[in-house]
């Protein structure tokens, strides 16, 4: 066995030499030039030579001559000399005489002519070497053309020796040469069979690619059943000398290696050839079964990895009882990995998974780290749009010069400076705070030069005391301080426009008490209060007779609650009836003037409590057929009704608008929210449409969405025109269940987008001292582990933990014995990046 190996090694290096030396040849002419006499008299028995006879150098054979010259070295390695025989002009012998003989090359062994080659068959080095060797190895390499021939050879070999079956699409190719070169070395060990017939290949294997050469190793030596073809192992790489040689060497290695020493010290053919070695960890009790598993696995992995069986009874391994598989990679310095795998498929995947093998073979620590990082890739990547946006913007300095920075010391004095001080309480590390701070700078820009308003900020991370004192419990919080009044906390949208508007409207203490009818009218027309005259806003006037003091109080309270959002006024002079008559209401009543329209609406006030009045005003201020936007949708969502949305790319058409308004004002007004969405103003509407219909339908589109009940989405048939009647009858059909929803909104809960690090598991895996459990629990676990250890090796109940352990071990730095009973596998493996070395 050892001798055989030696031969392989030497022949291999010889072949290697051949392969490498080819390209550098051909520069110098190494062809012997002899006279016919010299040539024939010098021929030695059993020495092969290739001879070319020439009289003059005709231009036609120049190319051939060059190739012959190029092949000299290659052929020389196989003991074949190349001779150019110069025929004297007068020579008319067999080889020199005939003109067509001069177009041929002759192969002699001794003085026996083996073969004559037409020069066009020897078109390059590959074809020369291939054909010459082919001719010489006539017995070693059998050429077959039919399946019967192949089967006959195969049957004859069964029980005796193995067969190497090669298919080449044509002779004289590089693959053909490679097969021949290997056959030159292995010809006496294995029977080589060559074919150019693709049909043979089709019968031999399943669905091969006949355009490329193939090589199969047929295990006929161990075959006993004459009826069955020999087991075959294809070479899964290109047919090169190296690959074929490697393949044959692997095929020649014992199927399963018995190991009785430290696996770290074991070296087999596989490892030498750069393939991994899989150890089956066995013990006395299970040896037979393990042996069968090993053989099964070895056949599966033949040519890809070696399989060894390691008896734990013989070798004292400091590893987990539960480990059943070990994987040794050919790279030096990479420790053996001990694994717990459930079935052989997993082992095969482990080995076959090229990326994994590659990863394992990459000895670089960094690569291992990459692998690790890849596993946690998504986990580590910020998936919070707000946080990410803020961190991408962190290097920009905000224009904060318009905003006063307050501290614990300056806070109270600053509150006395302006009529109205706005304070943003925030935390400088918190993303939402920083978003609002940006909007706040925009607000400052808008309000620049506005008298009586001071914008300021307090960083609660620097000054927690003042934040606690001001009852700021979460970030960000915006409060407006007015002299002598309780501060108002802003509770609207955290956007520039909304906040600006709030600050503007808050300037006026609401409700504003109006003293004369004239004042009331000017208030309703927006002229009063003068601070807001240039500022478009919705307003409400409460009209009370002197008797209705209780409702008036409630309204006053409601007014202050709505302060900043809606301007409220109050009128309760003696001549109140004059005012109320004008708007056809009787006190107590509310007069509403929306920012969007000029008209004043009168509503009688029946509610008694402030909260109810607030609700009522909010409700009344909603539009009948609003354009829905990101900003106002929440107001309408609160109605908890289905939505009828008219999606329009740009402004809504007049006709549609009219019809929709009719519909909205009609009898069904109470049942649903009808609105429209301008995709130009609210581009995210496209996202909504995509979610409903997968693609954006032709616009405009009218859509019914059961937002709060079932989530069905219906699309109004686009062939119908949008009229009140059509819509109503469509809605009837919807109600009757006659229409099929286009889609249904997902009812899914918002689950964690990604898993967290399972530190509990990692700690557990790292060993008992890191395991956090109650002491009774500990006992249970220990018992359980022992049980598992004694069971069949493949019982794996806690595989994820095991993986985590492997991972955890990888993370260990040297010099820290954290692992308790766990094997010290990872001493040389990757370490966590640490910053103490800075």
């Amino acid at each position: 066995m050892a001798a055989l190996e030696d031969r392989w090694v030497s022949s291999f290096s010889f072949l290697l030499f051949c392969a490498v030396s080819i390209p550098i040849l051909g520069s110098a002419s190494l062809v012997q030039e002899l006279s016919p006499h010299e040539y024939f008299s010098g021929l030695q028995a059993n020495k092969a030579s290739l001879a070319y006879f020439s009289r003059t150098v005709s231009p036609g054979v120049q190319l051939f001559l060059e190739q012959i010259e190029n092949s000299v070295e290659a052929l020389h390695d196989y003991g074949i000399s190349v001779v150019k025989v110069k025929c004297p002009k007068e020579d008319v012998s067999r080889y020199c005489g005939k003109e067509n003989a001069l177009r041929k090359a002759y192969l002699f062994r001794g003085n026996v002519l083996i073969r004559e080659f037409p020069t066009d068959a020897l078109f390059d080095v590959n074809s020369i070497v291939a054909n010459v060797l082919f001719a010489l190895l006539f017995h070693e390499v059998k050429y077959v053309e039919t399946l019967t021939d192949l089967q006959n050879i195969e049957n004859a070999l069964k029980g005796k020796s193995n067969m190497v079956f090669a298919y080449v699409p044509a002779t004289g190719t590089a693959e053909h040469r490679a097969v021949m070169e290997v056959a030159f070395v292995y010809g006496t060990v294995h029977q080589f069979v060559l074919t150019t017939e693709a049909t043979l290949l089709k019968d031999a294997g399943n669905d091969p690619d006949v355009s490329s050469a193939q090589l199969l190793f047929c295990h006929c030596q161990q075959a006993t059943d004459l009826a069955q073809p020999c087991r075959r192992t294809p070479l899964e790489h290109d047919l090169t000398v190296l690959n074929i040689h490697r393949h044959l060497k692997l095929m020649g290695a014992p199927l399963v290696t018995e190991v009785a020493e430290d696996p770290e010290k074991v070296s087999t053919v596989h490892l030498q050839l750069g393939l991994p070695l899989v150890f089956i960890l066995s013990q006395k009790e299970t040896y037979e079964a393990d042996r069968r598993t090993a053989e099964f696995l070895a056949w599966k992995l033949l040519g890809k990895a070696g399989v060894a069986i390691l008896s734990r009874d013989v070798v004292d391994l400091n590893i987990l009882r539960r480990s059943n598989i070990a994987l040794k990679t050919p790279d030096e310095g990479v420790p053996i990995k001990y694994l717990v795998l459930e079935d052989t498929e997993e082992v095969i995947t482990l080995v076959e998974d090229k990326s994994k093998v590659k990863q394992i073979q990459e000895n670089e620590d960094e690569d291992e780290e990459d692998e690790d990082e890849k596993e946690n890739d998504d986990q580590d990547v910020q998936d919070d749009q707000v946080v990410e946006a803020v961190s991408r913007d962190k290097k920009r300095e905000l224009p904060l010069d318009q905003i006063l920075t307050l501290t614990e010391e300056t806070f109270h004095s600053a509150m006395l400076e302006a009529a109205q001080t706005v304070v943003l309480f925030y935390a400088s590390w918190e993303a939402v705070s920083l978003v609002v701070l940006q909007s706040y700078t925009e607000v400052a820009d808008h309000l620049k030069g506005t008298q009586g308003i001071l914008l300021s900020r307090v960083n609660c991370w620097d000054w927690p005391g003042v934040c606690t004192m001001e009852n700021v419990t979460q970030f960000p919080t915006i409060k407006i301080y007015k002299k002598g009044e309780q501060p108002i906390t802003y509770n609207g949208m955290l956007g520039t426009e909304e906040l600006t508007s709030f600050i503007m409207l808050s300037q006026v203490s609401c409700p504003l008490k109006l003293a004369t009818i004239d004042e009331a009218e000017r208030y309703l027309s927006g002229e009063l209060p003068s601070e807001l005259s240039s500022y478009q806003h919705s307003l409400v006037l409460g009209v009370f007779s002197t008797a209705t003091s209780k409702v008036r109080e409630a309204f006053t309270e409601a007014g202050s609650i709505l302060s900043g959002h809606v301007t409220t006024g109050i009128y309760f002079e003696d001549d109140v009836l004059a005012l109320s008559h004008k708007y056809a209401v009787s006190p107590p009543a509310l007069l509403l003037a929306r920012s969007s329209s000029q008209s004043v609406e009168g509503i009688s006030l029946s509610k008694q409590s402030a909260q109810d009045i607030v609700q009522m005003i909010r409700y009344e201020l909603l539009d009948v057929f609003p354009e829905i936007t990101v900003q106002n949708l929440p107001h309408y969502l609160q109605l908890r009704k289905p939505f009828l949305i008219f999606f329009s790319d740009g402004d809504i058409g007049q006709i549609e608008s009219k019809e929709m308004l009719k519909l909205a004002k009609g009898r069904s007004q109470q049942a649903f929210v009808s609105c429209w969405l301008n995709l130009k103003n609210t581009p995210v509407g496209r996202g909504v449409l995509k979610a409903y219909f997968a693609t954006i339908p032709s616009l405009p589109a009218l859509v019914w969405v059961n937002l709060h009940a079932g989530g069905q989405v219906f699309k109004f048939p686009s062939e119908q025109s949008i009229t009140e009647m059509n819509i109503l009858s469509w809605l009837e059909k919807l109600k009757a269940g006659l229409e099929i929803p286009s889609s249904t909104l997902s009812e899914e809960d918002w689950k964690p987008p990604l898993p967290a690090y399972n530190f509990l598991q990692m700690m557990e895996a790292a060993g008992p001292e890191f395991t956090l459990h109650t002491s009774s629990h500990q006992e249970d676990r220990r018992e359980q582990q022992q049980l598992e250890g004694s069971e069949e090796k493949a019982t794996v109940r806690e595989e994820p933990i095991e993986e985590a352990r492997v991972k955890a071990e990888k993370a260990q730095g040297p010099g820290r014995d954290l692992r308790g009973t766990a094997p010290r596998l990872a001493g040389r493996e990757k370490q966590a990046r640490r910053h103490s070395e800075l």
Binding site: Q382, D384, V630, P683, L707, A756, A811
Partner: protein, 677 residues
């Protein structure tokens, strides 16, 4: 003047007590040291009926004498680069807690290791400025119990002072510290001078050879003082020297006092020895020199022979280490609690014999209503945390006060309720600034009680984790749907007197390896339900808590600043999300709009913000960033198509320019775009 006020108060209390011969108070505090004053402060702020008894004429009498060499080893860090007052307390080891900014120790001393007189002045001011009710010159000499079913705890505490005046209290808070010197008795111990009385003038030691018994800070402080004038100093103790930078325990030898270690290791004649003091004996020779021998030899000696008959170790072992005679032997063995006045109600000394036996709630194991505060309460976290020192017990005292408020006055533990969206923020805020969590690591923890459906949570600060199982009764708060415990920990096996705490790669930098963090870092435990008392009892001794359902470590940070969005906050958020099974991300209003119209449920951030008309609009610039990060889809893009699309993909650096370009885009771009299709 203040005294007069107190007298009047006492008199009024006397009147209130009516005909009884006792002066009654709900709370009696023994000792006006730092812990007693701290307790008094909280009682006063809560408007409770209390009195403090102090046997001396002024507060902090211990500090008037000790440490003998007058240098406090608790740091007085006046600058941290931060203005956050709570954070700064992490590095102020001397101040007591109060609302009064003038009562910060940095106003009393400029020294990093302040003079002890500054502490005396500070404590005087603390008592006076806050108007704490203290009876000075009142030494309580005897404490008994008087059974009474009406009393809070089924009994009253009856205290008698040196003038046989009696006082009656419902609750007794013992803050007397440990002031009885530890004394070892061995043959010849009469030649030993005590730390309490030994001269502090180095001149008195010139040319002398000194043996110091003990290995604590007082022993090293004493050695440090005379190091330069003695022939040599030997120091003997049973245990090896424990360096506080190796153990992370401030009670072990501090670097400021360790000059002797230097001279020992550099063979400059000084030295350290280990040996049991109980086996020791000292004999004085005729020249007055003191010789070390063993008790064993003395017991076997020939009684008649005098000094010459005593076997010295060097007689048998002629290279015996301490064979050289000493001029002086000084005992620096620390202090113990004064058990003498309690008449057996302070039960048979805890496992650490110098401290009374108490529960993790700081209540005596034997007597209900008797609490131990301050240094004497250190048995709870001896050699672990800072409970024996001002910067630790100022927080545990507050915790005891909060327990008492709940127990006797129906005032539940202070808490705040937040929407679940604030969960990550609340934790980040606390772990970055909270001083109690930081100083009393592994002992005090913030507790987050989840409300049903995990839509809101209640935040309790600095609760003693040792009584986690009793949380509901002790705080008056309910834990119906699981809880988080936020605590700070050092790495397992990192610190210890044998450990090399400077080895390479000692600090972890990556969030995914955070569990291996060695330096103090926040750890969050998640329990689906409150652990039971049994689970608490059975938890492994080196863990502060029983096994949680999930655990999270925030990776240690060189700057103790845990606000990094990706390394600190993101992994924490993922942990919280997975415990609560929800999505805790923030969203811009636009995203919430999309969700509101396309899904039946909203993520909590949209639910609690946008849906309540408090959406986060965000600036255009930030939304662009989110789009570039691929976290927000830009639907407007399709409107412009053409060269707009590649433009945004490439992420032009000139953001502002592009923002301006969009509305001004000339029409022919649209035409061109068509041509391209």
């Amino acid at each position: 003047m203040a005294r007069g006020l107190f007298l009047r108060l006492v008199l009024s209390a006397l009147c209130a007590a009516g005909a009884a011969a006792f002066l009654y108070h709900d709370y009696c505090v023994l000792g006006a040291g730092p812990a007693g004053l701290q307790a008094a402060y909280f009682l006063q702020r809560a408007g409770r009926d209390y009195v403090v008894f102090e046997r001396s004429h002024a507060p902090g009498s211990f500090f008037a004498i000790y440490p003998r060499h007058r240098k406090l080893i608790s740091i007085n860090k006046r600058h941290t680069g931060k203005s956050n007052s709570e954070f700064n307390l992490r590095h102020d080891w001397n101040s007591l807690l109060s609302h009064e900014p003038r009562l910060l120790f940095r106003r009393y001393s400029r020294q990093f290791f302040p003079h002890a007189d500054a502490m005396v002045r500070y404590l005087e001011d603390f008592a006076a400025m806050l108007g704490l009710r203290i009876r000075y010159d009142t030494a309580i000499v005897h404490v008994t119990l008087e059974k009474d079913p009406r009393a809070w705890n089924g009994h009253y505490f009856v205290l008698s002072d040196q003038n046989r005046q009696s006082y009656k209290c419902s609750c007794l808070l013992v803050a007397t510290g440990t002031w009885v010197p530890n004394v070892v008795n061995f043959p010849g111990s009469e030649y030993v001078e005590g730390y309490e009385t030994v001269s502090t003038n180095p001149e008195d030691f010139a040319g002398q050879t000194v043996l110091i018994l003990g290995r604590g800070n007082s022993a090293f402080e004493t050695a440090e003082n005379i190091l330069g004038v003695t022939n040599f100093i030997h120091m003997v103790s049973r245990s090896r020297v424990r360096l506080s930078w190796a153990t992370h325990y401030v009670g072990d030898l501090r670097a400021i006092n360790n000059g002797l270690l230097d001279t020992y290791q550099l063979k400059s004649l000084d030295g350290l020895l280990e040996g049991d003091l109980e086996d020791l004996a000292i004999v004085k020779d005729k020249k007055g020199k003191l010789h070390i021998t063993l008790r064993f030899y003395l017991e076997n000696r020939n009684t008649s022979a005098g000094i010459d008959g005593i076997t010295l170790p060097q007689d048998e072992l002629d290279n015996f280490a301490t064979r050289a005679p000493y001029d002086r032997v000084i005992r620096c063995l620390g202090w113990k609690f004064d058990f003498s006045i309690y008449n057996r109600m302070m039960p048979g000394r805890g496992n650490k014999s110098k401290y009374p036996q108490i529960k993790p709630s700081y209540e005596s194991r034997g007597t209900r209503g008797l609490f131990v505060l301050g240094t004497a309460s250190h048995s709870v976290d001896f050699r672990k945390s800072a409970g024996g020192f001002i910067h630790g017990f100022r927080y545990t005292t507050r915790a005891v006060h909060r327990l008492l408020e709940n127990r006797h006055h129906g005032v539940p533990w202070p808490s705040a309720v937040y929407p679940i969206t604030q969960l990550t923020n609340s934790i980040i805020k606390r772990v970055n600034e909270a001083s109690g969590l930081y100083q009393m690591f592994s002992v005090l923890a913030d507790i987050i009680l989840l409300r049903e459906n995990a839509t809101a949570f209640e935040y309790l600060e600095e609760y003693p984790v040792g009584i986690l199982a009793e949380l509901e009764t002790q705080t008056g708060r309910k834990a119906p749907a699981g809880l988080f415990v936020v605590i700070m920990e050092y790495g397992r096996n990192f610190s210890g007197d044998d450990k090399d705490v400077f080895y390479y790669n000692r600090a972890v930098g990556e969030a995914q390896h955070a569990w291996q963090s060695n330096f103090l870092h926040p750890v969050i435990y998640y329990y689906k339900r409150l652990p039971t008392e049994r689970e608490m009892r059975l938890h492994p001794p080196d863990w502060p808590l029983p096994r949680p359902d999930a655990i999270h470590h925030i990776v240690e940070d060189f700057l103790t600043d845990w606000t990094a969005p990706n390394a600190h906050i993101l992994p924490l958020r993922r942990f919280l999300e997975n415990c609560l099974s929800t999505d805790l991300r923030n969203f811009f209003a636009e995203s919430c709009f999309l969700f509101a119209l396309t899904r039946q449920k909203l993520p909590p951030f949209c639910q609690q913000g946008y849906a309540r008309m408090q959406g986060l609009t965000g600036s255009e610039r930030l939304r662009r960033h989110a789009v570039e990060a691929g976290l927000l889809e830009d639907y407007a893009v399709t409107d412009f198509s053409g060269d707009k699309l590649p433009d945004s993909r490439q992420g032009s650096h000139d953001q502002l320019l592009r923002d301006h370009v969009i509305p001004l885009r000339p029409l022919h771009h649209l035409v061109n775009a068509k041509d391209e299709f």
